[in-house]
Symmetry: D2
Subunit: 432 residues, 4 copies
């Protein structure tokens, strides 16, 4: 965050850029919903996957709550109950929130009304960027950065949640039947890359960097690493099939205790979305059911399944420290939502492949604060900090992530039992 007040010219130039980015991001959310019919917008088939309509409204609520109401004089909210209906989990806004598990039970406001809400917010945001007081500018700029990232996170959720909802329907409808498809093949051979140990640094240098980052990536700090090796690509469907054929889902010795309990309670016998028809494996995609491609990274796995596979293979998952250390200096390139596949692709090329995009990689690290971490004051402090318990860190983004959303230091987190994100993993081992 800049410390001195900007001049009007500086502000105008920055505002123009920010408005362009705002507009681009806002449009992308709506573009993702174009293949939907009205009926799809209200679906909540499982508690963790929200209705598309809710996502569209919630990201607008976010701008309204954290930018328009505090910084745009005279702003009038679109509807007085929306701060209750579209707040996700912020306790400190004081408005409360509609229960998460009932987001799919609201037919009103209609889809058209939610789009009206979006456009109301869009217009007000354009006004705010034009008229912002220079004394507010630093706050507004910083919060815009969060708002953009926030909407991008919900764009990823739109994709993953739509997939979840459609997979629940016995008709297995396609979101976009026209999506491209990687040729079916065998997995690329896997190699190992070695890394020396020693003291290294991870995390985001909030003060020095110009780029946006979340509070949970800060502060940058030193850590000690033992020597380790990392697989040069994620585990594939083909490799995971070997685990299944070897009885992996039936051998308790491979599983964490909580994972085994989860497996038995839910009857897991393959990753989410896998189905066996006449002896052949298929998987649900955003283009509908398709044959399983052994060459693609395995996806839609819980942490427990990733950990069990690693145990079976005599390896382990990397820590987030190892992952970030290895990723330092690697360019952010890969298969992102921008590329339009909406599905992981087989590895290609050389070196440390697919660190970014394709699948989020479960790490063996619990999601905890970095040394010296403090959440910001106020409701925005609830964004990341209050979730630092019971979840595991994932790294690198997926085929549903925006390319300009991800960073080397980016920390995603999910409960170890969750499977509906594009989650995969890469093997590691200690070499000392």
């Amino acid at each position: 965050m800049r410390k001195t007040r900007p001049t009007q010219d500086e502000m105008d130039a920055a505002a123009a850029k920010l408005l362009a980015r705002f507009t681009r991001i806002r449009q992308f959310s709506e573009q993702l919903c174009e293949p939907l019919v009205i009926e799809d917008y209200g679906l909540q088939t499982v508690i963790e996957a929200s209705p598309p309509k809710w996502h569209l409204a919630h990201v607008s609520w976010f701008y309204e709550t954290f930018l328009l109401r505090p910084f745009l004089p005279g702003y009038e909210v679109f509807h007085p109950r929306f701060e209750y209906l579209f707040n996700s989990y912020y306790e400190q806004t004081g408005a409360g929130f509609w229960p998460r598990q009932e987001r799919g039970l609201l037919s009103r406001p209609t889809v058209a009304e939610v789009y009206d809400y979006r456009h109301h917010v869009d217009a007000a945001m354009a006004r705010l960027l034009c008229e912002c007081a220079s004394s507010d500018w630093a706050q507004v700029e910083m919060r815009l950065g969060i708002g953009f990232s926030h909407e991008q996170q919900h764009q990823e959720l739109l994709v993953t949640d739509i997939k979840r909802h459609f997979a629940h329907n016995p008709l297995r409808p396609a979101y976009r039947a026209d999506l491209p498809m990687s040729p079916i093949g065998d997995p690329e051979p896997l190699s190992w890359l070695s890394f020396d140990g020693g003291v290294t640094e991870i995390g985001l240098n909030a003060a020095g960097d110009d780029a946006f980052g979340f509070d949970n990536e800060c502060p940058r700090h030193r850590v000690f690493l033992e020597p380790f090796a990392l697989a040069d690509r994620p585990v594939t469907n083909g490799e995971f099939l070997e685990f299944i054929r070897d009885g992996g889902y039936g051998d308790s010795a491979l599983w964490l205790s909580d994972g085994w309990a989860e497996l038995r309670q839910r009857g897991w016998c393959a990753p989410l979305y896998w189905e066996q028809h006449d002896g052949a494996w298929q998987t649900m995609t955003l283009a509908g059911m398709r044959p399983l491609n052994p060459a693609e990274p395995v996806c839609h796995l819980s942490y427990y399944e990733a950990d069990a596979f690693a145990t079976w293979a005599g390896k382990r998952l990397p820590t987030e420290t190892e992952w970030e250390h290895a990723a330092s200096g690697v360019a952010i390139a890969g298969n992102f939502v921008d590329d339009g596949w909406l599905h992981p692709r087989p590895a290609a090329g050389q070196g440390l492949r697919q660190l970014f995009g394709d699948v989020w990689e479960w790490t063996g690290s619990a999601y905890l604060p970095y040394p010296g971490y403090r959440p910001p004051a106020g409701a925005l402090g609830e964004y990341n900090g209050k979730f630092m318990c019971n979840q595991m860190v994932l790294r690198g983004g997926s085929c549903a992530t925006s390319r300009d959303h991800i960073r080397t230091t980016y920390r995603n987190f999910f409960y170890p039992y969750e499977r509906w994100q594009f989650t995969g993993f890469r093997l590691a081992e200690t070499t000392s």
Copy 2:
């Protein structure tokens, strides 16, 4: 059911009449949905209240399953999975059924596709009525009677379920803001009518009557009645308010044991849809929130609440035998869905008032088979018979029932804890 085969002329005349009735009933279902927006069609806010879209499809599935597939040669089903998606609970069709609690989780087929399905069935039904083999006629005619009644039952459910879904939304939207409203007033005075005891008859004479009736109303049989008296109208909101003000919801001595457990678990302190705002009672209606009218029959009560009120009042609920005996010879008149109020109205007139329409009346009778009852063979035998346990009988129809659907012998049944139907009650006492 007629025993001899009809002539072609007889069949043509009957078919024309039946087709007219079929068309009228089919159109009424769609007419009830006209005030809905697309988003409303998919709602299932509680397990017992299905989405409007499901009702529209299910009643069509019923004709398809019990008339078109067995009796229309060459009939092609609209979609091969619909027999699974839109079967409600018939185990013997062999197709299974989509879980009841997940009816709201299907965005596809779309609303438009469901209407297409309806019209596909409509066209085929018209063909069936034209082309029916005389050897099939008796079966077809009998099953049409069930199909009509079945669709009318689901029309009532459309109304009650929409009310339930809209009441769940914190915006409390109106289904039809233009509905009329009875003037607010005090309840009419209540009088008692006495009936002698003795042997009487209840139930439907299937063989002799021309009119349609359900299997569970048969056979007509003798019963013995002790002398009793019946209130000349149902209990009103005003009277029920006295019960509340007297601490009725807090006095365990008034309640059945299971009712008290239900009350405490669910936190009941008033009938469903009642809300107190600034000390004044309002109630959700199909026109949105409205002030509570003391003169109207109390509605949306469980059996437990009806029973507790009766205990508090030193009375009891009538048995279904008493109710039917008293109703014999009373004309079927009252406030029905045809009248367009979609809400109970205050009592008016003299004598035994509001036996029909306004509110279903809980009786003190468990829903059990009449002596000599046998369900029909096959899946249609599941229509009524398999529910003869744990439910209580209600009589007389409601403001959401079609006038030509109800009969003096008609037995409705719900679990004693259910409240989302237009359910009220009338007091009785033993006078011997």
Copy 3:
């Protein structure tokens, strides 16, 4: 209840008799517990089956609450918290009650302390019978009748609950390994007995009879019966095995809807306590595991299973009216707890066999008030009346019932899914 005050001599004579009966009943409870070790006294393996210790204390609490505290001047309670710990479900005593599902979680008071409590109450009851004011006598005598019956009901529960607890233990311990055992054989042939219909009377004539009866058996009243026939003995294990072999537990068409749901949720595939080992059926008894005897009445069935069997057999269950009409004039004889088998025995003799004892017979009647029924005022009114919903009537007593506890008019009631009592059934049919 006598209306005039008795003389002292009358009271002394009556008191002596009552004290003798009291002592006999109190001793029998303790005698039933003799085979137990201390550890057994605290078991509650399922919510509906209470710990033996609790039964021993609760029946004492009953005398304390309804006789000693109101009628014995200067009575001091054994422990001030016992009115909370050992109240079962009486809301109107004002003391509340320890949650039913946690009765097994109290190691204190110890077994020895509970026996001390019993003897404290015994001594006080003897005093009460000596010193009772003549103005209280009628009340005391009436309540003693309830107290005796109450303790006898809990004696039956002691037997059934111990069986339930021991069957839960994988070691399947025997309560009394020395119990006799009927010779294994084939069922006796079954005959049918016909009864004319017409107006008849059932229920207890409270005013006229000298014998004790519960409020729920009153008043005696007229009913109309269609002609019917009754099997001359209950259904046997051998007959029930045919139902199982014919796929009865897998054919939804035989089952009530709620029964089928229960079966699937709980995985029922045989009556409670049946186990198949190496292809042979065994059953848990109070003497431990024993081979299933085809000649014995089938036992430990839910209402749903009884009803499904009857449907499979093309028959039905009798109503409680039919049962009582048929039982009028039949002597109270059979296999009771007094006989010491603690297990149903094969039918023997001629005529209407095993109406009393052996197994409680599920009827097709819901447990509802008789016309004109009113529960007594006060907490004792909770004894029977508040359970008149959702339960079914059973008749005739079982091998765990005391012979002098049962009556022709006696109405027992359980939820249709309950199986841990000695419950069986007899077939009926309508013959008109």
Copy 4:
């Protein structure tokens, strides 16, 4: 583990020492149960707290399974079903296990039989130590170390579980009314001790150390620490009362998201066992209810409560690395089960106080494998490794821990919502 085979003399000497220790530990388990009555042995009031009888049997099963069956030729098990009944959670033994939540539902085997079982195992263990083949000695010695530690862990659980069971009883019985009691007073002032950062080492050097340690403490490895400060004693009841009075349990901003959900679902408003009577706080102890002593360390808290307090105080919990670094070189001294208080005591003395004993200290570290950790092969590998997910590390032992059980490197772990252990915490802060 020694690599070369010992001589017979070495073995004899070692065996004598081990047998003495075995005997001492075995006796202490029984000594802890002396205050119990038979009825107490079977209690399981919550799923996580097992019955004393089960603990006594399970620790014997452990020796039987991991020492007697593999290493004592001709050993005959006490009872063939005990390997099923008293296995806790070892999947790889092949025998399965009785469900954890039903441990309190077994009255048989009796307490006397369980003591017989213990003595059967004791005698066999003595034989094993005499007759052990030298080729087995290393394994036997290593497994004995685990067996001793295992029984000591269950001794701690005996204490904590008995406290939990007795607190559930509304009579709040005392386990030992004669326990001593610290004088009530104000908390000692709190000071902060500073530690430099840098590379340090934690963990157990399995190869080099003679002392026993668990696999999860290995291997010793380097870590990097930022400079930090540590409170010189745990947080006290008095300090925690300030948090309560300041509305800590009502301010969501202080809580982790999962913690806040837990608090609301369970209605937490104070630590476990705290009760307010007439405005004064009391707490359940093993001597029964006692006034809350402000000077004692606060105890029976979840991780969530510890974390919320730290947030409220503007501090944080230490990591396990910080804790172990600070504890290096500190002597193992404190208030242990050996001291007979069975309750935390006020801080006394100078420097880093109460690191050991009194209360287990929640750290901010998730329970995860150390770099290079590998669980042992076979069922013993399930001891620690399979729990490395979703739990938090605690350090230092409690007043219910044996003094010779604890180590500086010792890692205990519980779910963040668990409160029935003697759990407290100490504050930390980052000082860089």
